[in-house]
């Protein structure tokens, strides 16, 4: 009962300075929302990437010439096929295309002929020359759909007409937004790829434990090659979406600094009015511990409300609104940028970290200066 009365007094005290405290709650909740949005977004993207790319090729072999990725001779594939433990070798054909009409970059990719219909595709993959399947981003910027024509300019500066036979559904945007899938012969002709070269080679291995050994053998036999294993692809994505790096850290650091300034401002001193209030409370018989409890409740009321408001705002922002506020920051110059429809993978550890990083420092910065005032003589405190 005594604690409830102190809480009641603390809330009345906060209410007396309601505009100031509301402003603090607003800034505090906004800071938490920014931090939590970044953490939720990066964690959800990282989890989705690791789930999806678990189906990526076990090994991709590139050729590197003069330090750059070059087209790889098909003959390399024959040599790789002879390495014991290699199950399948598949030359891949793909490349980039800049569409000057809409100033967007597309990724052109060959259609793998021997697979079943795809659930995420409305229509079908190109089965004959002159057909193409496109991502929903390409369909949106070119304002085309199944049955329409997509005209692209090839390496000889000729406009080539492809009939759109399929459009990838928007839930798959994270993978297919900028894709244009062409028949292999069309793609080779479009890019003018020499007949004995491919973009890179994907390798399937019988025993997944042997991937690294086979990668080493490929590197030894073909020193100008660069094997990239699936685990490296996964590790790259774990690093790309690491919240401790790049711009994410900058945004995170800016929000954290803003919060530190707020906490520092509170910690470096309390107003004369607050000191007088503490003096009066001491004079009417309050113990130092009661005053500390009062200040503790004041800090808890502000920080707990802000924490919950901030977490709610971050959840709604990232998982219901598709991180719309963060998107302009992370979009860069990409014309085709997928709309995030993230699956709410949330790590409870992150919520705990946000809680521990924000609530205890704020409560401490409220209690410590009051403790200084509470242990001084009531008369001195009342005189300011």
């Amino acid at each position: 009962m005594r604690h409830l009365k102190i809480l009641e007094y603390a809330l009345s005290s906060l209410w007396r300075r309601k505009y100031k405290n509301m402003a603090i709650i607003l800034v505090y909740a906004f800071t938490i929302a920014v931090l939590a949005s970044i953490l939720f977004l990066t964690h959800a993207l990282k989890t989705e990437a690791s789930f999806l790319l678990a189906e990526a090729p076990e090994l991709v072999v590139q050729r590197v010439s003069a330090g750059r990725h070059e087209l790889i001779p098909l003959e390399y594939g024959d040599r790789i096929r002879k390495i014991p433990g290699v199950a399948e070798v598949h030359p891949r054909f793909w490349g980039y295309y800049y569409d000057a009409l809409v100033e967007a970059n597309y990724t052109l990719l060959e259609a793998n002929a021997d697979h079943t219909p795809l659930e995420m595709l409305d229509g079908h993959l190109p089965a004959a020359p002159g057909e193409c399947a496109i991502g929903s981003g390409v369909a949106a910027v070119r304002k085309i759909g199944p049955g329409d024509d997509l005209i692209l300019v090839d390496s000889t500066n000729m406009g080539i007409v492809f009939e759109v036979t399929g459009v990838f559904r928007s839930p798959s945007d994270l993978l297919t937004n900028d894709l244009v899938i062409l028949d292999r012969a069309d793609l080779i002709e479009f890019f003018g790829t020499p007949p004995d070269l491919a973009t890179d080679i994907s390798v399937r291995v019988n025993n997944p434990k042997e991937i690294n050994t086979i990668a080493e053998k490929i590197k030894r036999q073909m020193p100008d090659s660069r094997p990239i294993s699936r685990s490296e692809i996964l590790r790259t994505y774990a690093a790309v979406f690491n919240w401790r790096s790049g711009m994410m850290l900058s945004v995170f650091a800016a929000a954290l600094v803003a919060f530190c300034i707020l906490a520092w401002d509170k910690a470096t001193g309390i107003s004369a009015e607050e000191k007088r209030e503490i003096g009066i409370l001491k004079a009417v018989g309050w113990e130092t511990s009661d005053i500390l409890e009062l200040k503790f409740w004041e800090g808890m009321a502000v920080s707990l409300t802000s924490l919950l408001l901030g977490l709610l705002a971050a959840y709604v922002h990232v998982f219901f609104l598709g991180a719309t506020v963060l998107t302009p920051v992370i979009k860069g110059w990409s014309v085709l940028f997928p709309t995030f429809r993230l699956i709410p993978f949330i790590d409870p550890y992150q919520i705990l970290v946000i809680g521990f990083l924000t609530v205890p420092p704020y409560v401490a910065s409220t209690v410590i200066p009051s403790w200084k005032a509470a242990i001084t003589d009531p008369e001195t405190a009342m005189r300011g």
Binding site: M120, G246, I330, I343
Partner: protein, 99 residues
């Protein structure tokens, strides 16, 4: 003695809203994994995709896993990087790169 009741009520309301959202999220994870992620995973296998289509502005941002570490600086040694996305995504880890 009403303020603390309102406060406790507000905190409980906010906490239950957050709890409900987290529970809703947890249930939608399993549902959407089946309806969205599994077909997408099939897509990755069928088209042999290696990267997510997020940043389409440059080769090394479109296919971070396939790019060399120095690709952002390919124009000349110590060239400045052009593309904003390069400052958002982290560089690949050192142990990701074979010599």
């Amino acid at each position: 003695m009403t303020k603390h009741r309102i406060f406790i009520g507000l905190i409980l309301l906010l906490a239950s809203a957050l709890g409900l959202l987290l529970l809703f999220g947890r249930s939608s994870v399993s549902a959407r994994t089946e309806t969205e992620l599994r077909p997408m995973k099939t897509l990755v296998g069928a088209l042999q995709l290696t990267d997510l289509s997020i940043w389409t502005e440059a080769r090394y941002t479109r296919h971070p896993s396939q790019a060399d570490r120095f690709t952002p600086f390919q124009d000349f040694p110590s060239a400045l990087e052009h593309f904003p996305a390069g400052s958002i995504m982290a560089p690949p880890r050192k142990d990701n790169q074979r010599p």
